[in-house]
Amino acid sequence: MATFRPTRRSVLAGMTASLAAPAVLRAQAAFAQGGPIKLGSLTPLTGVGGNYGPFMRDAIAGVIGAVNEAGGVLGREIVLVSEDTQTSPEAAVRAARKLIDVDGVAAIMGTWASSVTTAVAPLCWENQTMLFCVSGADSITLLPHRGFIARTQPNSKLQNDVATAFMVDQGATHLGWIGPQTPFAQGNIDNMTRIAGENGMEMDSLIYEADKSTYRSEVDTIMRAGPDFILLGGYTADTTVLLRDLWQAGYEGKLIGPAYAVNQTVLDALPADVLEGIFTWEPAPAIGSPAYANVQKILGVETVDPYSAQCYDHANLAILSIAAGGEATGATIRDSLRTISQGEGTVVSSAVEGLPIIADGVNYDGASGPCDFNEIGDITGTQFLFKRIEDGAAVEFART
C-alpha cells in the first residue's frame, strides 16, 4: 500500500489551494447567478433638458433600488449604469456605445430629445438592446427598429392634435406655429395646417435656427402674417428668447407652448408680465394612481414631471419583462413587453408588486398611464393637462 509522505512542495500546494478555495466558490456562486443584470439610464443631465434628466435618472434608480431590496430579479442584483446625453445627439451616441459595448446593458431608458433618440436608436436595434424613450417625434417609432423601441410619450401628432384642438376651442381664428428645425417641426406644421383648413382658418408658420440670442426679425416676420394664436414649437432656451421678443414687439394674441419648454426655468428667467396668459400643455401623469404615488415617494416631491413618471415606468417595464422572459437580454424585454404591460393579468403598479406573481400574469399600469403599446411601440392612450400662467405661476386650466 502506498503511503502519502508530505513534501514541502505538496504542503505549499495544499495551503495555496485552501486559501484559494473561498474565492473559487464565490466565483462559482456568481456564475450560477449569472452576475448582476445591468440596465442603462441615458437621460439629459446637462444641456437644454438638464432640468429633467437628474429626476428621470433618480426615478429609475428608485425602482431598481426597491427591486434589489426585495431580492432582485431572476435571483440577480440589478445595477444601474447612468450616462448623460448632454441633450446632444453626438454625446448621446458616445454614451450609448459605452452602455452597450462596455457595460452590456439589456435596456437603455430615458432618452429625451427626439434628435437624441433618433441618433441612439440604430445602435440599440443593431445590438439587440431595448430602448425606452420619452421623445415625441412621429418618425421615431417609424424607424426599422424591429420592436426594440418603446415610448411612453404620446407621439408628436397626437400631442399636436390635442393642442391644436385646444387652440380652436379657445376661439382662435388664425393659427401660427413658430419653432426651431426639429424632427417634428414640419410634421406639426402640416398637421396644424390640415386642422386649420378643416375649421376654415388661416395658418402661418416659421421655422427658425436654434441657439440664436435674438429672434427679433423672426418675430417681425410671423407677426406680419397676423396669427391670433401661436403655438411655440421650441425648447426652453429658444422659447425664453422668443417670448421676450414677442412681448417687446407688442404681440397681443394668445400663445401656447409645450410644458417642457415653457417650464419653471422660463418662469424664473422672465418677468410675469411677459408670461401672463400663456397656455402650456403636456401629457399628464396618472396623478391618482398608486404608481404616481410611488414616484412621489422616490423623488420626494409633490408634483412629478411627466418624464420622471415615464422613466419610473421604463424601469418597471424592463424588469418585469426580464422576469417574464426569464433572461436579461434586450430581445427578451422586447418579446415580453406586451405580455406584462397589457392584457388580462393582475394589475400592478410596480415591479416589486408584480415579480412574485409574474407567472400568473400581470398587467402593468404605470405612473404615466396604462402603458399599453401598439405594434410599432407607441402608447395607445394618455391624458393631457393644460395650464395657464397667471402671476408668474402655471395654474391648472383643463384636463382631457
Binding site: T46, G47, G50, N51, P180, Q181, L206, I207, Y208, E209, D211, K212, S213, T214, R216, S217, E218, D220, T221, R224, T236, A237, T240, V241, R244, W247, Q248, A249, G250, T265, V266, D268, A269, L270, P271, D273, V274
Partner: protein
C-alpha cells in the same frame, strides 16, 4: 417681405454693432499674437456671467456691471493664456489655436460648474419697444448700442493716442522691429490679451443683456465673431467693425430670401465670397 426691409436693417445694425465688440478683441489678439484664439467663446460667456453676478448678485446697474464683465474676462484671459497658451506659441499658430479650443471647453464647463445650466436673465426693467415710423427698437437695444459705440471709440482712441496702443500697433506690424525699439513683446502680448478678452467679455454681456444667458452663450457667437474678423481682414480693428456689420446685416437681410433656419449659413457665405475676391479680407493689409 420688402416692407420689413427698414426693420431688418435696424436689427442688423444693432446686431452688427454688438458683434463688433468681441470681434475687435478677437482680431486684436490675432494681430499681436498671430493665432486665432477660439477661447473668445468662453470669455464671452465669462463676461456675461460676471456681468450677471454684478447686476443681479450685487444689484449694480448695467453700466457698472459691464466694467465687471470686462475686468473678469480680461483677468481670466491673461491667466488662462499664461498657463495654457503662451507655452505652446513657439510650436506654431495651429497648435495654439487647437489648444484654445480645448481651453474654451474647460472654461465653459467651469462656468457650468459654478452657475449650473439654467438660463439666467439680467435684472432689468422690461419695456415694450418704441415704434418710430413703423420700425421698432427697444430702449435697452439703444442703450446697448450706445455702450458698444462708447467701447469702440475708447478702443480707437487708445490705439491711436496712448503709448500702450502705439506699442500694440508696432508689435502687430513688425514684432522684431518693435523689440529693437525697446518694446517688450511679451508684456505687450499680455496687455493685448487683457484688453482683447476684456472686450470679448463686455461684448458677451451686451449680447446677453437683451435676452438670457447660459454656459453656451459665447459658443453661440463664435461663428459670427470669427466670420466678422475674417471678412473684415484678420488683424484689422476697423476691419472687424466692418466685418461685424456685414455679418450682422447679412444675417438679418437674408430673411428676405432665405428661411430663418439658414441664418448661420450667411456667416460662412460671407467668408467664402469675401475671401474668394479678397483673400486678405475687406480691410486686411497683410496676408497671414
Amino acid at each position: 417681405m420688402l416692407d420689413l426691409l427698414p426693420q431688418l436693417i435696424v436689427n442688423g445694425i444693432v446686431m452688427g454693432t454688438l458683434l463688433a465688440i468681441p470681434a475687435i478683441g478677437f482680431t486684436a489678439i490675432f494681430a499681436v499674437l498671430r493665432f486665432p484664439n477660439f477661447a473668445v467663446a468662453s470669455h464671452a460667456t465669462i463676461g456675461a456671467f460676471a456681468g450677471y453676478a454684478a447686476n443681479v448678485g450685487l444689484g449694480l446697474p448695467v453700466e457698472v456691471s459691464l466694467v465687471a464683465a470686462f475686468l473678469v474676462a480680461a483677468v481670466v484671459g491673461v491667466l488662462s493664456d499664461e498657463i495654457a497658451l503662451r507655452p505652446l506659441r513657439p510650436h506654431g499658430a495651429l497648435t495654439t489655436a487647437i489648444a484654445s479650443i480645448a481651453l474654451t471647453i474647460v472654461l465653459e464647463n467651469a462656468v457650468r460648474f459654478i452657475f449650473g445650466n439654467d438660463l439666467r436673465g439680467y435684472d432689468l426693467p422690461l419695456v415694450r419697444d418704441w415704434r418710430i415710423w413703423g420700425v421698432r427698437i427697444g430702449p435697452q437695444q439703444v442703450e446697448n448700442l450706445l455702450l458698444a459705440l462708447a467701447l469702440m471709440s475708447a478702443v480707437f482712441l487708445a490705439l491711436r493716442y496712448t503709448r500702450i496702443g502705439k506699442s500694440m500697433r508696432a508689435v502687430a506690424d513688425n514684432p522684431a522691429l518693435a523689440e529693437l525699439k525697446g518694446i517688450d513683446p511679451i508684456m505687450i502680448g499680455r496687455l493685448t490679451v487683457f484688453f482683447g478678452m476684456g472686450l470679448v467679455g463686455a461684448g458677451g454681456m451686451l449680447l446677453g443683456v437683451g435676452t438670457s444667458i447660459d454656459p453656451l452663450t459665447g459658443f453661440r457667437f463664435i461663428l459670427p465673431i470669427f466670420a466678422a474678423a475674417v471678412v473684415g481682414g484678420l488683424g484689422s480693428i476697423p476691419g472687424a467693425v466692418l466685418g461685424a456689420m456685414v455679418v450682422g446685416l447679412g444675417e438679418e437681410l437674408s430673411l428676405i430670401v432665405l428661411s430663418p433656419s439658414y441664418r448661420s449659413a450667411v456667416g460662412f457665405l460671407a467668408i467664402v465670397i469675401v475671401l474668394t475676391f479678397r483673400p486678405r479680407g475687406l480691410l486686411g493689409e497683410r496676408a497671414y
